[in-house]
């Protein structure tokens, strides 16, 4: 790695966690390059005109200095001009790290900074889809000095959810308990995170509608523990039952696409809905809808205990199935 002094590291992108990580790593490198160096940190929003010049000057106590500016999007116009002037002629004794919080604000200054030779940009973007999270976890574990297979990483993402901070913590825990260089496999993940799940309302609704009562109740408890809002659970039940009821009304012989547009559900869900519908009679659907609507009032202050109301709803919906 080239010396951090005399160059400007620009961190951009929407993931605060990842940006923070890059920033800390950069500060570590500055300290490593010169242990005597002082590193000043400031928020761009608080910088007043003239302050930047003082911060980028050599200190009395050491020849080199480091400067970290976070929240670059809040930089005022006067300070922007100073920063750009510095970027054009960086001092060889000063290491600068600039962190931009993502978004369009302050994009002008970013574009101008990028044109300078001294500026190196690192983009951090949070993974978007579940697949990307799995890949991210695998790379994370590799960085920590172990390996993890695809299956185990996927299991970890289902259990922990898609919050990067939580995933990084989980990866760290797994590697330190399995030991460096040891391959993390399914068993290890199951040992530490088995049974735990990042549950959304739809998963509980599907389980209850399909009659998997034990799974539905277990997931409901996880949802409560994870502070999933009760309204999200009732609305997931309502929308699941609503699709089923509409499907029950569609006459046979239609193709999946036609059915999907008739009931207003995405085509890939139609097959799943059809298999769910096999367990239901129209009367049962009406009964289940009734229960869900009553529960919706109860979780919004109509009842004493939302948790109890939800649990009873799961039981009653499952009981309303055929047979």
């Amino acid at each position: 790695m080239a010396s951090p002094f005399g160059s400007i590291l620009l961190v951009t992108g929407g993931s605060e966690f990842l940006a923070d990580r890059v920033r800390r790593k950069a500060v570590g490198q500055i300290r490593e390059a010169d242990p005597a160096c002082e590193v000043a940190e400031s928020e761009a929003g608080r910088l007043v005109a003239g302050e930047l010049a003082a911060l980028t000057s050599p200190s009395l106590f050491s020849t080199s200095s480091g400067l970290v500016i976070t929240g670059l999007e809040d930089l005022v116009d006067a300070a922007q001009a100073e920063l750009l002037a510095y970027a054009a002629e960086p001092s060889s004794d000063v290491a600068v790290v600039l962190v931009h919080g993502g978004g369009n604000k302050g994009k002008g200054v970013l574009d101008k900074l990028r044109k300078n030779a001294a500026v190196h940009e690192v983009k951090v973007e949070a993974p978007k889809y579940e697949r990307d999270h799995v890949t991210w976890v695998r790379r994370e574990v590799t960085d920590l000095g172990s390996t993890i297979d695809e299956e185990a990483a996927a299991l970890l993402v289902t259990a922990v959810g898609q919050d990067l901070r939580a995933l990084a913590g989980a990866a760290d825990q797994l590697v330190s308990s399995a030991g460096q260089g040891v391959r993390v496999d399914r068993e290890v993940v199951a040992q530490y995170f088995g049974g735990r799940a990042d549950v959304r309302g739809f998963e509980i609704a599907d389980a209850a509608i399909e009659g998997r009562l034990a799974a539905a109740l277990e997931q409901l408890r996880w949802a409560e523990a994870n502070k999933v809002a009760p309204v999200l659970v009732t609305s997931a039940f309502a929308s699941g039952l609503r699709s089923l009821t509409k499907l029950a009304d569609v006459r046979g012989g239609l193709r999946d696409n036609e059915v999907a547009s008739a009931i207003g559900a995405p085509p890939f869900k139609v097959r799943a809905l059809r298999s769910q519908l096999r367990g239901w009679e129209p009367e049962g659907l009406a009964r289940a809808m009734d229960v869900v609507a009553r529960t919706d009032v109860e979780v919004k202050g109509g009842g004493a205990d939302p948790a109890y109301a939800l649990e009873r709803m799961v039981l009653q919906v499952a009981a309303a199935r055929r047979g």
């Binding site: 309502a238 809808m289 009032v297």
Partner: protein
């Protein structure tokens, strides 16, 4: 045409008010400084208050409807009659204090300084408290008139300082007569509209004059006969939900656009260029308020449609119990055939269960439950 003519079917109240007007001009007893008008929506509470105010200011002392004073009072431009109302959710202390200041003024041309609070039920407790002193002991020429749906809607300390005037639900025949005489609607249509609106004068007028309102009501009433499978119940619920959303959109869109234009003009915001500091906050506050209004409008619309469905069940029950001989006496006389069919299909018990389902739905919607879900539940119960 005197100022009293638009008060339909409120003869006892008109008599009381006329006596008070006479007492006020002769100095006899029967007049007081604070009045509370209560009555069901549409019965004409604020109209009664305005007519009373006009009669008090009338140059001939009777509410002739022809003198300069009566004409300006009817147009809402009389300098000594102040109307206080709100389009928002409540009347706050700021507005109330302003009114108290106006109450202490001497009348400029008329004999009285009249303050009509049209939405006294929307006074916040603090605002009502701010009015207390002014209502209890106003200057000699100041008269307060408060309007609210029921006396319970006004805090007890205000209630005890006012003389209460209770309006009744006007009889359908009287409403029909008004529609014929004032709006020139033919007798048959006026009668049907008056019955269908159950004494709400404004609604009766809208039903009689606007095709769209009539069509919407028919659409709602037809839903009751369309409930067969659970799927059709969900569709009926979705129909009501959409109609309500459209209704709210019709009313809110133009108001929203105007408020936004006013806000932009006030902050000097141009199409391009930098926004002034603080504008973003003001904009988001406005948008929040507009969203709240839209929600309220759509909920009110749902409630109105539920009342239509309720009146239909009421007719069905009346037929089932044999308490209506002439189909013309039904609230929904225009769909008498359907009412008969529904009555034959069910029993009085099942009709009562349906009435309960509708009432419960109204309560749930008011309690902030998801409106579509409540409607679906109700429709499924109606079909059962």
């Amino acid at each position: 045409m005197t100022v009293w003519d638009e008060l339909v079917g409120q003869e006892p109240v008109v008599e009381v008010l006329q006596r008070a007007v006479a007492a006020a001009s002769s100095g006899g007893s029967g007049m007081t400084h604070a009045w509370l008008f209560t009555g069901p929506p549409g019965s004409g509470r604020s109209n009664a208050a305005r007519a009373f105010a006009a009669a008090l200011q009338c140059e001939r002392g009777t509410g002739c409807g022809e003198c300069h004073s009566c004409v300006t009072a009817r147009a809402g431009s009389h300098p000594d009659i102040t109307l206080i109302s709100t389009q928002g959710l409540s009347i706050g202390t700021d507005q109330a204090r302003e009114v108290v200041r106006a109450a202490s003024l001497h009348p400029s041309s008329g004999r009285w300084q009249v303050l009509v609070v049209e939405d006294a039920d929307r006074l916040t407790d603090q605002a009502a408290n701010a009015l207390l002193k002014a209502i209890e002991e106003p200057p000699p020429a100041t008269i307060w008139m408060l309007c609210a749906p029921a006396v319970e809607d006004v805090i007890v300390t205000i209630r005890s300082r006012c003389r209460s005037v209770v309006l009744r639900t006007p009889p359908a025949a009287a409403v029909a007569r008004l529609l014929v005489e004032r709006d020139g609607i033919d007798a048959q249509a006026a009668r049907e509209a008056a019955q269908a609106s159950q004494g709400h004068v404004g609604r009766a007028r809208a039903l009689a004059t606007k095709d769209e309102v009539r069509r919407r009501r028919r659409e709602i009433l037809d839903l009751a006969g369309s409930l067969r499978t659970p799927g059709s119940c969900l569709r009926a619920a979705a129909t009501i939900h959409e109609l309500a959303a459209d209704h709210a959109k019709d009313l809110a869109d133009s108001a929203d656009a105007k408020e936004l234009a006013d806000l932009r003009a006030g902050w000097g915001v141009e199409e391009r260029g930098k926004r002034p500091a603080g504008y973003a906050g003001a904009l988001s506050a406005l948008e929040k308020e507009q969203k709240r209004r839209r929600t309220r409008l759509s909920r009110d619309a749902i409630d109105g449609m539920l009342l239509d469905l309720l009146s239909l069940q009421r007719d069905v029950l009346a037929v089932q119990l044999g308490s209506v001989q002439d189909p013309g006496d039904l609230v929904n006389a225009d769909v008498a055939g359907e009412v008969q069919t529904l009555a034959r299909l069910g029993t009085a018990e099942s009709t009562l269960r349906r009435v309960d389902a509708i009432l419960e739905c109204r309560e749930s919607v008011a309690a902030n439950a998801a409106p579509l879900l409540c409607l679906e539940r109700m429709m499924l119960a109606l079909a059962a």
